[in-house]
Structures are given as structure tokens and as C-alpha cells.
Symmetry: C2
Subunit: 730 residues, 2 copies
């Protein structure tokens, strides 16, 4: 198949300074979480995208020097010759596919250099607002000269490593941003005061890059063009565009990379907008105006996944280059699929920000849609290449939730004859309910993509609406190998906040208690509602929103210290908190439930403070005595309905049933039964999909429930890395 | 000098299974935060302690397999041959000094294997209570057999690496603990139900270790002997001692390592008790009872720093071996100093748990008292050895707070002629006030130690009570090189929560406002008090406690999501929260101050919710318009006094003054002025001390304000590590 001519525009080369990029697809700066300690993982991740047709790929924010390191999470560095070697490996992989490699040189910010213990210079001294509290010192002009040298040295190392585009990072509260800002920069010397003075730091840094670049490399800058803080920040139509004009006049950049959002910890989500709040191309009101005045190519972002929209964006003069972070993670082969005329194979990002959540947990990113993300090197996975099965036998997969669908898809790609059986009419499992929650419709791409992929595979047969498959059915089926992906359900007994404890008085079989499944099924809910959350992610807060929208009085109770802490990691938390305030949803954090009693027509939920007991041990060891003074204060919430978002439980019935019939397996020709996803242990969506994928990849190993060895990237005392990929692990 | 005979007992060898430990000092399992990626740092840290006389040293909890990894922070692993190589390096270093090396083999718990993405088996399936939410699956008997094999394989690797003592880790919610617990273990098979069944997992794991150990290694177990949860947990006098008896009868361990505290995230602080709540030997009521019935040596812990107490503990039959984690970090040479008859040189742990806080931030530990901790390898620092100065000239150090004291001490050790000048009569700087806060008296050891060390150095002269040294004084002094360690003060204008913003209406010169310094100086405080905290550590909550104890009505307001989040990292937070409830201190989190107005005889503090604005962007770019709907709800607190714990500001006056006189330096013979600690940028106590130490170590470098290169331990693509120690960095 060939490319649809209406997408030709996307494949027109474009000049960026002395370089030519082969098309209009550019992977903007994006952390992997692998950072400086894991060169193989970084290179593997970018290499697959270069192969997938991205014309240019940038590193993540790459620290120019240990002092002015701007991240407490694991990031890449350009500090020394060791870094050059590691980056060069990545750049070489990218160049193999004719793509350009960019490096986003980052410095500054009010972050703790926990690892190096450097105290950092800042633009003006002021403390961080977070934990740990960080203080910087105000850089003198001499310090700034030194910082300029750091930019230059890092740029030289980058050039040495082979990079084509040298970037000044100018977003998320780094040096140039604080310098330019009327709000943050209160200096009175040559770097403060007038617009030109405030722009000077950025200008000088670009000049250093230009000097290093010469005629060999392009120079670019990323800029957050509006802080979204109104008069308290940089604004597009005030100094944002003025800065673009100024730099244009000076001729200092060969490409603009435009985003929005300020320096605060709650601002990343305005750029990497979760689909819950922002749809595709949500940054257009800002980046389009930059393009109007820029004289060099402009890259912009906005979770672009659809080629028609991309064409519109370029044709309308909004942007020259389609920038993407998340769409390139979700589908590293996105450009190539457009080029090869198979747009329907694109795996679209769902905007869940699971990727970001892992970075925020100081780990390698993962992706809900693309389970091979960051597994390219350490597991040797390729998003589009699958080892053909040595034995194309029939495999039965029971349950077509996200995990079963992915397992079936990958088994299919590998050439197995897959029979996928789903009790319900619709494929997608629990996600079919989730997409009905406010803002989460795009998550449906998970099953849409897999369903449509499978539909095109002749060796995958889907049986839907079968009702629950039984253990006997499995034995009758005649499959030698079976995958169970039967999922999980929400607990109906209050399990979740504290080990194996359930809550007295709670029973989802009774009228006043409602599990999420019962909520979706339409169980009646009264006017006064208590939502119990010991899950901490989207379910409780989303149901609370729905009920508040229905005019009910809603109180969200959680044993956790903050509401829905997982959503802070996915960048949804801050706007969700705003939503709670707007909609008048009450919150009780750090409290949990002693018991629930009947009271009148409703129930009373008896809450206790998690720290109701004394601050010092009050007794020496005594059997049967709690060694603190226990306070007896409780708080009683009267309500009509209690929503139970406490925790989930694996649906193990089918597995247990089949295991009970083990003596009959041999006669039935059954050899292995493998659990995939939530039915082994409930987990985040991305992890359930990952599990289905992994099992299908490793289906011939001794026990596919157990992962094969992973390459560890770490220093070995005088030796190479162990184990080797594919080594057997117990 | 020779050892005081009253301490001879501490140096009696003791048999542990087939091994003999040379004395009674044992470094119990203790994380470094260096973990598996940094073999050099781990080895360096233990080597210095072995040299310092510890008879035995254990690893931290060392993971036996990626599936049953029990930590989300960076820890050590015993997964493969690469790990064997790295551990062997550490063991060899320890053996050089005739010490024994132990390995604490850890497995289980309800933790997310974020890195490997394994889903873990658990004893019984139940979810974690934290973020990210983690679910495990209930191990079958077959799974348990596999886990036993993991213990065996890991033990075999450990033996291979040269370890002398093989441990089963049995604290902090790992497998054996959940297995033994009536509360957590609800199994109905051979591993659940009766006491023997619940003990079976632990017994079998020990048997595997015994099998591997043969006659070559000792086998030990660490056990948390009481969950401190009363009837809801394992209790000493119930099944705790019963377990000890049972294992004793089976003859399975050669040494007991006893601690207390349960599985919850808030329980580590009951073992590694902060001095704020627990003094030395706080675990004696528990461990003494184990010793009464044990037939093999018993190790116990309790922040032991005093040799007289150690002797009492052993002589009284409470313990056989003095276990220590923090005292060994604070003074790696503690045993040797006792042995060499220089007890007064011991640097005592202050129980601040700064060490733990960095581990909790997924970083290498640091130590307030010992700035060389974890710098042994990467900076080449030794706690007791100092490079003699090439030029024993006079150096002037101004300010004898923690940073100046440490700088003077190390310059003194190096042979400089140090003149330390302090404005006040007392040395210790801001710490002199801090120690007056509830529970923090032991922090005074920081200045007591340094003051007494310096007093014994003939080349260090202390001038106290001089009043403020001026820039002119410095020029007159005749020193070629000067260190300024003039510290910081609390801001009087509300700076701290949000970049460079101060709070309208706040001014510490007025009666209603009180900075911490003014509080300590006795400024009058009314009955209704608002404590503003944008610092997040101990100051605000401690002052709130003092005022509540005086019977005042106290409300603590913080822009942070939780009260004093830094104290959660130091393990003080949970008991501090209990304290707040006990003492009726009100809390308002997630709020900050619009302004403070006069009202009647007092003031009104106008609070706003940090998320008072709308959840979606409501406008496209417009100059002067905040792009969200801003709610106008405020909350007014009427009060008499406002305590200002918002942030600190460096005292830069003296530095600025001296710099202004630069033209006169040459005539005055002045060449360099170096800032140390809080006067460059405020920071945590440990970091201010570290800075003084580092500057003194690197005093001859081009600019001692800037650290020298650090060895980075990371994978290099086919190459060795760069840069080399001591390389010049810009
Ligand atoms: C996982 C992840 C890591 C990111 N890391 C960086 C970074 O290091 N530097 C940077 O300037 N932007 C970073 N971003 C922001 C992206 O470059 C981009 O501006 C944003 O995600 C919006 O583009 P998208 O909608 O295509 O994802 C990151 C985004 C994601 C999702
Ligand atoms: C930084 C640090 C790390 C620790 N890591 C471990 C560990 O890995 N395994 C363990 O069993 N205990 C660990 N502990 C607990 C100690 O072994 C010890 O029981 C506790 O700190 C009390 O002893 P101490 O008062 O001498 O510090 C750690 C303690 C500290 C301070
Ligand atoms: N016994 C069964 N027979 C057929 N389908 C089943 C059976 N049990 C569960 N299912 C289906 O399995 C799917 C599980 O999906 P889900 O709960 O989303 O799990 P996961 O997230 O692990 O994919 C659901 O669509 C459910 O209808
Ligand atoms: N001009 C000065 N002359 C002499 N001593 C000073 C002067 N300025 C500050 N000091 C002293 O310096 C010390 C600073 O200590 P501190 O604030 O604890 O800082 P740090 O934590 O950096 O050690 C205080 O004891 C203070 O009295
Ligand atoms: S994790 Fe979610 S938001 Fe991130 S790239 Fe994948 S699908 Fe998109
Ligand atoms: S950081 Fe504090 S608690 Fe930890 S060892 Fe050092 S002095 Fe002791």
C-alpha cells in the first residue's frame, strides 16, 4: 500500500538552519526516566522511533552541569566524556534512519541537587515551595558568565556526540524562563529590569550555542510562550510574542519549539494535557500566533494522532512541524504508518499520562497503549516486529478486556491461531464502563485499536456474548494452551485501606452500598452520598463528580493524606482539585471507617482519624494492650448511599475451577493455563495490557506467567552486565 | 592512649555459629540508598566502618529476586552474577579488617516492582494502602516452593560473594512476617492456621539458608518482635517469644537480631526512633525479654552511642551484641575510639533521621553528624583521615554555627592555623535555639562535639562574643583567606510559598508578627495564634506545640498539601500528627495567605484555597487576563499573633560588604572569601555541615565554593567511568 496523497504535505522536507529534516514529524523533548544511568534504554527507545519515520528526535531535558541540574528525577546529563559516549550511541542509532537528533540543554530552576549536593545558583534568590525545601543563591554576573560557559561546554560535548540540533530549554522554570519573567526576575543589574535586560540571559545562551554550532548544527529553543497565569506571568500577547520578534531580529534560532504552561509543579499538565481536560491541538490558540510572526520553522504540540488534523494544522499556517511527545510513545511508527498508507494501524495515545506518572515516581516511563515503550533494549521488544511462533497451534484466550485483547493481538501477530472468547457482547472489559466517566471517553481507544487490529487478522477468531465460560467449557474446548484474562471486580466489603481488613457493616448486597460496577449498572443512589476511596486514582473522584453533577450532596472520604494522589502523578490532580471545589464536593482526608450502622432510612458512616492515638508509646509490652493511648473521638456522617471504591479483587473463579479439574487435563489435551492481567492481581490499565503483551511474547517459555530476564544497566565492578537477555530466571 | 578496662567487655569475641566475631559491635542492616547501581559507594561506606572497628557489618535489605523485591527505593540485590561481583568487592573490603560480613536476604511485602514490572506473590492477597496502589496474588504452595528456591539461590550467591552471616529478613512486612501474623495470614492450607503452620514459611526459609551455610556460614534472622499494634498484631509476650522458643528448639539460628515495629509505612520510626520521641535504648523492654530465653547471641538496637550504657546493656543480660545503624553512620569509628581510649572523640548520632529522609527520597543517605557518609568512594573522603595542608597559613572563619564549626574543625585537622570568630558568647549558631524545641535537645550534640574537638586543637583559636564582625574588621585582620559562615535568618515578610512573592500586610517589625528568632527572643504572643508554615519541616509544628502547651489556641496554616511533609521523611511525621490531634492544634492545609489586615486589637489573616480557580481554561490568550475563572471565596482567621515560618534568607551583609571593598583587598593581603553553609543559601542542617566540611577538604582548589568532581557510578556504553576523582570541573 502507498501513502494517501492528501498526506504528502507531511512528508515534505524542511530546512532547519544548516540541516534538512526529511519530513514534518518531530519528537519533541521527552523524558524516558532511563536517564544518565541507562544508555541502552534511551538509545533503544529513540532508535525505534527513528525507524518509525520521525524526521527529528530530541533528548529529554539534558542537564548541562551538576550544579544547575533542574530535575530531582533521573534525567540525562551532558556533564562529561562518559555522557558523550552514551549519547553518541543513541545519536548513531537515530542517524541510521536518516533522522536528526536534537538535544535539549537544560539548566536552572529551584530544585534540590539531592544526588550531587550542589547548592545551585538561581536568577534571583527565592525558595522552592515544595518538599524538600530548596534555596538557591542569586547568581552574580560572574556566576552567569560561568553558567554560559557550562552551556557552551555542554553544547560542544553534544556536537561531539553527533547531535544535529542544539536546543536551549526554555520551559518549566529553568534559567532563561526565570530571567525573562517580570515576576521572577527582580534583578537590578544588566540581567534585570528592561525587556532587553531580561532577555539577555536567553540571548547569550543562544549565542554560545550558535558559536559551537557554526555551520554544522542547527540552534533551536523551546519556549513556554504563556505562563497561563494572567498578569502574574509571561503572556503570549505581551512579552511572549515580543520575545519571538526580538530573537527573530537577532537571527538566533533556526527553529521554535512552542508550548504553554508556567513554572509551578502543577503546570506540566497544561502542556502534557490529560485527555480528561484537554483534547488534541489544545495549544493552537497560542502556537498559531507564534507561527504568524516567526521567520523560521515552528514546532508545536497537542497530542496529535490524526493525519488529517496534522495536515490541517500545517496547511492553515498554524505550524510548520508536527511536534509530539506522547503520540510518539504510544505509536513510535506513527509517521511510517501514514507513509505506508495504513493510517488505520496507528495506535493513538489516550492522554492518560501513565507515562508521566512513572517518571514522577522516578522510574522509567511506561505507556498504556504501547507496552514496548522502554522495553526496546532491556527486553529486546520492538513495537512492530514479533517473533513468529515455532508452533502455530490454536490458543484459547478467555476474556476480552484490555489484557486479553492485547494478548490475543500479539499471539495473532506471532501466528498463533487465536480463539478469543468474551462473555459480553462488547469487547473492552472494565474499560467499557470507565469511558463513561467525565472526560475519559478517549480511553476507549484502547479497545477500539485492538478490536480493529484483531478484526484484520485471519488467524484470530473472536467469540462474543458467550456468557461466562466455565471450567468444563475449557476442558471441552480442546486447546492445549489457554490464557485466562477474566479481570477483577471491586470489593463489596470495604477491603482496601488497611491490609486484609474489611469494614463491619458494609455489604454491597445491601441497598445502601454501591460498588462501581453497581453504579454503572444503575443501582439507585440517594441524595446524601459518601464516597469511600482507598484506591486513590480516578474511580472515586470521577463517580463523585457524576453524582455532584446530578445535584447530590457528596462527601469523599479517604484514608490517604490527599484526595486521589495517583492523579497528581498523572497531572490530572490539580485540575481535579479545582473541580472538587467548583462542584462543592466535600473532602475528609486521613480518615477511615470504623463501621457503618443503619440509621433511620439511611446509614451512618463512623469515621476515625488515622492518628487518633497518642504520640508516644505509653505502655511496655503487654499482651492484648495497644501500646498507645487510643483516642475515642469519632465523626459520624449520615447518608443515604455509600460508594465503595476501596479496592479490587481478582476474578479467580475460572482459574480455580480449571485447576480443580487438573486430573482431567491430560485426557482433555490441556497442558497450560496462564493468567493475564487483573485476574492474577488487579493493576493499573497500562500494566494489565503490558502483561497480556509480555505473555504473548514469551509464550513458549517454561511458564509465561513469569517474565524472562531483563538487561540491567548498572555499573559492574570491573565487568560487563549480567544477566544476558533471555537468560533463564527461576 | 589505651582502652579503659571498664570497656573490655565490649571487646570480648563472641561465637556466632561457625564464625567468631572479634567484638560486640555490630552494624545491623542499614540501607545506603546507593543500592545495586553503585557498588563503589556501598563498599566504601562499609569499608570505613570495618576499619573503624565494627566486628560485623550487614548489608541493607538485599532483594533475593526481582519478583519479590520489597522496596521501591534503590536497594541492593542478589539476583545474578553481576550482583555477586559487586557484593564481593564490598565483602573483601570488610574482611581486610577482620570483620564479618552479613547479608540480609529480603523478600515479599506489598510493594510495586515499578522497575521490573513483576507482579508479586504475597502471603494472602490484599492490596497496599498507599500510592501507587499495589495488588499481589496469593502464593500457592507451589509458589512458596519457588520462593524458597529464590532464598536458596540468593544465599548461594551470597556465600559465593564471601558473606559470613546469612540472614532471613523478618521485619517491615516481608514474607516471613506476614506468614507468622494472625492478622495478615488468613490462609487455610499448610502455611496458615496454627502457630506451627504460620511459622512454617520462616522455618523453611531458615532451613534453606542452613543448607547453603553448611559449616561455613552463620545463619541469623532479624525479627520485629512486636508490631506495637496490641491485639491486632504480633505481640512480644504472645507469639513473639513463642516464635523465639520454637526456632530455638529447632536450632535454626546462630544469632537473633531484634527490633520492634509493624509493617505499616508509619512504623519504621518506632524502630529508627527519632530523638524527638525516643531516647537511646528505647527498645530494651522488648529485646531484653528475647535475650532471657535465647540460646544464641542476641543483637539489639536503640541508638547506642555511649560505651557505659553499652556495657550496662551487656552486663545486665539485656543483649549480647550492641547493634547499631545510625550510630555507625554518625561515627564509623565508634568502636575503635572506645578501644583506643578516646571516648571523647565519639561523634554521636543526634537522632534527626536526615539519613532516612534521603533514602525516602530515593537518594543516597546523608548524615548530619558525619558529612563523609556515602562520600567515602565517590569523593574519596575518610571520616578520620585528612590531607595535611600544603600551606599551614592562618585562615579566618567568621561565624560558629554548624557550618563554621565544621569548617574550622576540618581546617584544623588539616593543619591550618584557624581563627574562628563568633559574634555571640555561645557557639552553635541557630541550633542553640532549635534545641529548645520539644524533643530536640539531642541535636545539641552537633555543636558540643565540634566545640570539644576544636578545644583540643592547639592550632584552632576561638574568639567568642565579639559582636558582629564588619567588612573593615576582615580587611584589618590580615588573613589571606577567609571563610564566611554567617548563616541565615527567617524572612519577616511572608516570603516562601510562591516564588519571590511576599504577603501584603506582613512585617515582622510590627507587634502582631513573630519570626522564629523573635519567638526565641521572647517577643509577646497573644492567645489566638496563627502559625504560617511554608517551610514544611520542624520549625512551625514545634512552635505550634510550644504555644499549645502554653494553653493558646493555635491554628497551623500551610500551602502544602499535608502538615510538615519533611517530617514524614524523617519518620517524625506520624507521631507529630498524633501530637497535633492530642493538643488540639487546628490545621488548614492547601491554603495560603492573600493578605493580613488589622482588625480590632488583633489581625485578620485572609486565606485562600490554592485551587480556588476553575478546572478548565476558560479564555484564549488575552493580555492581563488569567485564563481560568477565579473563585473569590476566602476564609478569615482572626488572631492576635502570626508566627512566620515561611522561609529563610541568607545573611549576606558581611559578604556583600567585603566584596564592596574589593579594591582594597590586595593592600590588606586578602585573596579569597568563601561562603559556607546557610549564608550562601539556607539549607538543611546536614547540608550546612556538609558544606563546611567540603570547603575545608577542598580548600586549595581554584574556588572552594564549588565542589570538585564526583565519581559517577553508572553504565558506560562499553567504557569505564568518567570523570576521574579530582578532575577539574568548571
Ligand atoms: C513522559 C514525558 C516527558 C517529558 N519530558 C520533557 C522534557 O524533558 N523536556 C521538555 O521540554 N518537555 C517534556 N515533556 C513535554 C513534551 O515535550 C510536550 O511538550 C508535551 O507532552 C505535549 O506534547 P504531546 O501532547 O505531544 O505529548 C515531556 C512529556 C512527557 C509526556
Ligand atoms: C538509613 C537506615 C536504613 C535502614 N535500612 C534497613 C534495612 O535495609 N533493613 C533493616 O532491617 N533495617 C534497616 N534499618 C533499621 C536499622 O537496622 C535499625 O533497626 C534501626 O535504625 C534502629 O537502630 P539504630 O537506633 O542503631 O539506628 C535502617 C535504618 C536506617 C537509619
Ligand atoms: N468466565 C468468563 N468467560 C468469558 N469472559 C469472561 C469470564 N470472566 C470474565 N470475562 C470477561 O473478561 C474480561 C475481563 O476484562 P477486565 O476486567 O477489563 O480485565 P483486564 O483489565 O485484566 O483486561 C471482561 O470483559 C469479562 O466480561
Ligand atoms: N558578622 C558576624 N560576625 C560574627 N559572627 C557572625 C556574624 N554574622 C553571623 N555570625 C554568626 O554566624 C553564625 C551563623 O550560624 P547559623 O545561622 O547557624 O548558620 P549555619 O547553619 O550556616 O552554620 C551565628 O552563630 C551568628 O551569630
Ligand atoms: S501512557 Fe497514556 S498518555 Fe502516555 S503516551 Fe501512553 S497512552 Fe499516551
Ligand atoms: S543523619 Fe541524624 S539520625 Fe541519621 S545517623 Fe546522622 S545524626 Fe544520626
Amino acid at each position: 500500500r502507498r501513502r494517501d496523497p492528501r498526506y504528502d504535505l507531511l512528508f515534505e522536507p524542511i530546512r532547519i538552519g544548516p540541516k534538512v529534516m526529511k519530513n514534518r514529524f518531530y519528537q519533541v523533548p521527552q523524558c524516558t526516566g532511563a536517564g544518565h544511568p541507562r544508555p541502552g534504554s534511551n538509545a533503544g527507545h529513540r532508535a525505534v522511533k527513528a525507524e518509525g519515520g520521525w524526521g527529528g528526535l530530541s533528548t529529554e531535558s539534558c542537564s548541562i552541569h551538576p550544579e544547575v541540574n533542574q530535575s530531582t528525577s533521573t534525567n540525562t546529563t551532558m556533564w562529561d566524556e562518559g555522557d558523550v559516549i552514551n549519547h553518541r550511541h543513541m545519536v548513531d542509532e537515530v542517524h541510521k534512519w536518516g533522522a536528526l537528533a536534537g538535544v535539549e540543554l537544560g539548566a536552572g530552576g529551584v530544585k534540590d541537587n539531592l544526588w550531587s549536593r550542589y547548592v545551585a545558583a538561581a536568577f534571583d534568590r527565592f525558595p522552592s515551595g515544595g518538599t524538600p525545601k530548596v534555596y538557591t543563591y542569586a547568581a552574580t554576573e560572574e556566576d552567569i558568565a560561568r553558567i554560559m560557559q557550562m552551556y557552551e561546554d555542554a553544547a560542544r560535548r553534544a556536537k561531539d556526540a553527533g547531535f544535529d540540533i542544539l536546543y536551549i530549554h526554555g520551559a518549566a522554570g529553568v534559567f532563561p524562563v526565570h530571567a525573562l519573567s517580570r515576576h521572577f526576575n527582580r534583578r537590578t543589574d544588566g540581567y534585570g529590569g528592561s525587556f532587553e535586560n531580561r532577555a539577555r540571559f536567553w540571548v547569550e545562551a543562544l549565542e554560545r550555542l550558535k558559536k559551537v554550532a557554526g555551520d554544522d548544527c542547527a540552534v533551536a529553543t523551546r519556549i513556554s510562550i504563556d505562563d497561563l497565569a494572567g498578569p502574574w506571568g509571561l503572556e503570549l500577547r505581551d512579552e511572549g510574542l515580543a520575545f519571538v520578534e526580538y530573537i527573530t531580529k537577532l537571527g538566533l534560532v533556526d527553529m521554535w519549539d512552542i508550548i504553554i504552561g508556567g513554572s509551578g509543579e502543577d503546570m506540566w499538565g497544561e502542556d502534557s494535557g490529560p485527555s480528561r481536560f484537554y483534547k488534541s491541538n489544545h495549544q493552537s490558540p497560542w502556537n498559531a500566533e507564534v507561527k504568524r510572526i516567526a521567520k523560521v520553522p515552528v514546532v508545536g504540540v497537542g497530542r496529535f494522532t490524526e493525519p488529517d488534523e496534522m495536515v490541517r494544522v500545517i496547511r492553515s499556517g498554524q505550524l510548520d512541524i508536527i511536534g509530539a511527545a506522547r503520540p510518539s510513545i504510544a505509536d513510535p511508527w506513527l509517521p511510517r504508518k501514514i507513509d505506508e498508507g495504513r493510517v488505520e494501524d496507528i495506535c493513538e495515545c489516550i492522554g492518560c499520562n501513565a507515562c508521566v506518572s512513572r517518571f514522577n515516581l522516578n522510574n522509567m516511563i511506561i505507556c498504556t497503549q504501547n507496552p514496548t515503550a522502554l522495553e526496546e533494549y532491556r527486553r529486546g521488544w520492538h513495537p512492530e516486529r514479533f517473533e513468529p511462533t515455532p508452533n502455530p497451534e490454536m490458543v484459547l484466550v478467555v476474556g476480552a478486556g484490555p489484557s486479553g485483547l492485547e494478548c490475543a493481538r500479539v499471539l495473532g501477530k506471532r501466528g498463533y491461531e487465536v480463539h478469543l472468547v468474551e462473555a459480553k457482547e462488547q469487547l473492552g472489559g472494565h474499560l467499557r464502563d470507565v469511558v463513561r466517566l467525565p472526560g475519559l471517553a478517549e480511553w476507549g481507544r484502547v479497545y477500539d485499536y485492538r478490536e480493529s487490529q484483531i478484526a484484520r487478522m485471519p488467524n484470530v477468531t473472536v467469540m462474543r456474548g458467550t456468557g461466562l465460560v466455565t471450567a468444563e467449557d475449557i476442558l471441552d474446548y480442546g486447546a492445549r494452551r489457554v490464557v485466562l484474562a477474566t479481570g477483577a471486580r471491586w470489593a463489596g466489603n470495604g477491603l482496601g485501606a488497611s491490609g486484609p481488613d474489611t469494614i463491619p457493616g458494609i455489604d454491597a448486597a445491601l441497598d445502601h452500598f454501591v460498588t462501581p460496577e453497581q453504579f454503572f449498572a444503575g443501582k439507585a443512589i440517594g441524595e446524601r452520598v459518601v464516597v469511600l476511596d482507598s484506591d486513590g486514582y480516578f474511580m472515586a473522584i470521577s463517580i463523585a463528580e457524576v453524582l455532584a453533577d446530578q445535584g447530590k450532596q457528596v462527601t469523599l472520604v479517604t484514608h490517604l493524606e490527599t484526595v486521589a494522589p495517583m492523579t497528581a502523578l498523572t497531572l490530572e490532580g490539580y485540575n481535579l482539585r479545582r473541580m472538587l471545589r467548583e462542584k462543592g464536593i466535600k473532602e475528609r482526608t486521613g480518615h477511615w471507617v470504623d463501621k457503618v450502622d443503619k440509621a433511620g432510612n439511611g446509614v451512618e458512616v463512623v469515621l476515625y482519624d488515622r492518628y487518633r492515638d497518642g504520640s508516644r508509646r505509653t505502655t511496655t509490652p503487654q499482651t492484648g494492650v495497644y501500646p498507645r493511648r487510643l483516642g475515642d473521638a469519632v465523626e459520624i456522617l449520615d447518608c443515604d448511599s455509600v460508594i465503595l471504591c476501596t479496592s479490587r479483587e481478582a476474578k479467580t473463579e475460572l482459574y480455580d475451577g480449571v485447576m480443580a479439574l487438573k486430573p482431567r487435563w491430560q485426557d482433555a489435551g490441556l497442558e497450560t493455563v496462564v493468567r493475564s492481567g487483573d485476574c492474577l492481581a488487579p493493576r493499573y490499565l497500562a500494566d494489565a495490557i503490558f502483561d497480556g503483551h509480555r505473555i504473548a511474547r514469551e509464550f513458549e517459555s517454561v511458564n509465561p506467567e513469569r517474565p524472562k530476564a531483563i538487561i540491567r544497566e548498572r555499573q559492574i565492578w570491573g565487568h560487563e552486565t549480567f544477566p544476558k537477555l533471555g537468560d533463564h530466571v527461576v
